[in-house]
């Protein structure tokens, strides 16, 4: 530089050692907190004698022979005490561990001896010391499965039925898909985008719904959004930025198929979670019907996974791995849902699913766009639009089996 540099006089503060300048704001913050603590300048905003704000989440209602086991969580700013419990609008005797007094963010288990009726709905209300009530519902009463080898196997099989088998069946279309021409292939890819768009919206709505059951203090909706954002960025970071050449070779296409399988796997984890929890919480005595529905619904997922690699000849091993990547998470989901369901966990998983599915839509969409550019056509050509529409339609109508 030619111009003479005028260095401004460095303020003395800059000469302080680093640790001191780092510590100073903390010390001042501590002083501020102390002032608040000892002088209570906010007292003017508080009225005396107001009852505490109470917020109890009824996280889980287990049904065992002759009793309910209810898990409650105190998400309110203060400790609170459970005073009474009613079942179906009748006071009922109960016991609570570790104590009827719940600290802030504390969790307790209420045991209520009650001859619940198989297949009928029940409502359990906890009454706090202030007389505030919080109600949890059992839609259809059925005994909650207890963890054991048989149950473990049963939930595992549930995951296989709704995840692994349908994806595998979908992959069996691979030979037929190979014989399609360019347009046919584009049609199938567009169909894949269609079903992914459906899954994106479906998963997002599911995440929003489950987030509503999360105790307010855990901020369910933001958690779902952050899980989606971070999942998307993580997949971007993991997959890196492939060159154009890489995208178009068989390795690149297999990479996209793998990404699709991964994201569908995350979605299926959410599905497994939903079905497992439904069975565990006694809300799906129509369970077998639900499983058949999910199975039909998920067959198209196999088609989506196979679509990018139809130009290639992947090994059987690759197919099996893709099938497991997409389907097996349903098994994990069913276990978690059946044995350790929590709305927060479900929200996180569903959020991750949203982020992953979004990234796959982008990737598969890119394949279609590049192909369209290469052939000098619009990506919104009738083949692609028809494929997209069919993908959405197939998901929409097969969803009739699982949406109630």
């Amino acid at each position: 530089m030619d111009t003479p540099r005028t260095v401004p006089a460095t303020p003395k503060v800059a000469n302080w050692p680093l640790w001191l300048s780092a510590l100073l704001p903390l010390v001042l913050l501590g002083a501020l907190v102390a002032v608040f603590f000892f002088t209570n300048p906010l007292a003017a905003f508080k009225a005396d004698g107001l009852p505490p704000i109470e917020s109890i989440s009824i996280e889980r209602i287990e049904l065992r022979p002759g009793e309910f086991i209810v898990t409650v969580f105190n998400g309110s700013p203060d400790p609170l005490t459970i005073a009474q419990v009613t079942v179906d609008d009748a006071f009922w005797e109960w016991q609570m561990t570790p104590s009827a007094e719940l600290p802030r963010l504390g969790r307790g288990t209420i045991t209520i001896p009650y001859d619940w009726m198989q297949g009928e709905p029940h409502a359990i209300t906890v009454v706090t010391e202030s007389g505030t009530t919080f109600t949890g519902e059992v839609a259809i009463a059925a005994e909650t499965p207890q963890p054991g080898p048989t149950q473990f196997l049963a939930y595992g099989l549930l995951g296989v039925y709704i995840g692994v088998i349908p994806v595998g069946l979908g992959l069996l279309w691979f030979p037929a898909m190979r014989r399609m021409g360019r347009k046919g292939l584009n049609f199938v890819l567009a169909l894949t985008v269609g079903l992914l768009v459906f899954l994106l919206i479906d998963t997002a709505l599911e995440a929003i719904e489950v987030a509503g059951d999360v105790a307010g203090v855990f901020q369910g909706l933001p958690v779902a959004a952050f899980a989606a954002l971070l999942a998307w960025l993580a997949i971007l970071a993991v997959s890196g930025k492939p060159s154009e050449a890489e995208r178009d070779n068989s390795g690149g296409r297999l990479r996209i198929a793998t990404l699709i399988a991964l994201s569908i796997g995350l979605h299926n984890l959410g599905e497994g979670l939903a079905v497992g929890a439904a069975f565990a919480l006694g809300e799906a005595t129509l369970g077998s019907f639900l499983v058949i529905g999910f199975t039909l619904h998920n067959v198209t997922e196999g088609v989506g996974i196979a679509a990018p690699v139809t130009k290639d000849r992947p090994s059987l091993k690759a197919f099996i791995l893709l099938c497991l990547l997409a389907g097996a998470p349903a098994i994990l989901g069913a276990w978690i849902g059946g044995f350790a369901y929590s709305p927060l966990l479900a929200t996180i998983f569903l959020g991750v699913g949203v982020g992953a599915i979004w990234q796959v839509i982008v990737e598969v969409g890119r394949l279609l766009i590049r192909d369209a550019e290469k052939n000098n056509e619009s990506v919104a050509n009738w083949v692609n639009v028809a494929g997209l529409a069919l993908g959405i339609a197939v998901m929409y109508f097969t969803a009739y089996f699982v949406k109630f």
Partner: protein, 350 residues
């Protein structure tokens, strides 16, 4: 009472053995009946006579309400306590009964551990209570209620009965710290009630400002084991529906602590319905039937029944004498109300 109730079960068996029935059959019957008579009913009971349901689990609140600490409301004491006021005689010979009564804001325990932010009446020198004290007088007495409002809200006292409208208590509405004296002659004899008549009425009533007001007939009634039951309820979460029902405030109190009575004794219940939010309440008595005196304004009974259904503000006198020892359940015959606390027992002992 009558002959039959003076006979014990054992006496009955003795009579049976000299009857024309076959000896073998009678022996078997005797054995069976004796087993029934001498085996205490299978119910877990602790030293205090409190039924312990927790062994099996059941339709009951968990724990017990504190009735012993100073100022705490005790449904057992309220049941049989009548307040006759300070009695003097007016120049004309008329009896004057005078009460100093106040209203305050008062938290009460309506079920074990459940605190309700209520409004309560109380007598000078005594703790506030929900229901308010039971006033009792004789037809023709002059009544004087010196009322002071110590609550943060405006209140009144409205008495049922016949009196000048200026003493009716829907006006004047008394602000915090204000006083008013209600004065009128007691008529007609019967079972009445009093309550705050300040709008919003629903809240002023269901928060606890009510009590029983008994005017005895000049000649009195037949001596009896008398008790007051005020059917009330509490909307603890303020959603316009009651979470807790009771007679005399505490859910299931007389189930956990059965009312002790004697076989053959005449029992008279002054039953008042002040339940807010529900159009009707009722009392059903097990194992017996009662004479029903509607509003208590006549000395002959209206009917013999075991269930009476009453709208809000209705009140009746019930009379019965238990013929057999044992537990006589009583409760609202609306099952929902019974299961939410309005249930109890008379424990009749020989």
């Amino acid at each position: 009472m009558d002959m039959k109730s003076n006979l014990s079960r054992r006496d009955f068996l003795k009579i049976g053995t000299v009857s024309t029935l076959g000896a073998a059959g009678i022996a078997a019957l005797a054995q069976q009946s004796q087993a029934v008579a001498e085996t205490p009913p299978a119910r877990p009971e602790n030293d205090q006579g409190v039924i312990d349901h927790s062994v099996h689990g059941g339709n009951m609140t968990t724990g017990d309400v504190d009735t012993t600490s100073p100022g705490a409301f005790d449904p057992a004491k309220y049941l049989t306590h009548f307040d006759y006021g300070t009695v003097t005689t007016l120049p004309g010979g008329q009896t004057l009964r005078e009460w100093n009564i106040y209203a305050v804001d008062q938290e009460i325990e309506v079920a074990p551990g459940v605190k309700f932010p209520g409004w309560a009446y109380g007598l000078e020198g005594q703790p506030p209570q929900i229901p308010g004290p039971t006033f009792r007088c004789t037809e023709g007495d002059r009544l004087r209620f010196n009322f002071g409002n110590g609550s943060a809200h405006p209140h009144t006292i409205h008495f049922h009965g016949i009196h000048p409208p200026s003493m009716d208590g829907f006006t004047p509405v008394l602000k915090t710290g204000e006083r008013f004296t209600y004065e009128f002659d007691a008529k007609p004899f019967g079972l009445h009630l009093y309550h705050c008549h300040t709008p919003p009425l629903k809240r002023h009533i269901h928060k606890g400002l009510y009590g029983t007001f008994i005017i005895d007939p000049p000649g009195g009634r037949e001596p009896a084991h008398e008790m007051v039951m005020m059917m009330n309820a509490f909307d603890t979460n303020f959603d316009g529906e009651n979470e807790i029902y009771a007679a005399n405030t505490v859910a299931f109190h007389y189930a956990k602590h059965p009312i002790q009575v004697k076989v053959g004794d005449l029992i008279r219940i002054y039953l008042v319905n002040i339940t807010e939010f529900d159009p009707v309440n009722s009392l059903h008595l097990h194992s017996s039937m009662y004479k029903l005196f509607r509003t208590g304004t006549r000395l002959d009974h209206y009917e013999l029944t075991d269930t009476v259904t009453m709208g809000q503000g209705e009140r009746h006198i019930l009379e019965f004498a238990p013929e057999f020892p044992g537990r006589y359940m009583f409760h609202a015959h609306q099952s929902e109300l019974a299961e939410l606390g309005w249930m109890g027992f008379f424990d009749a002992r020989a």
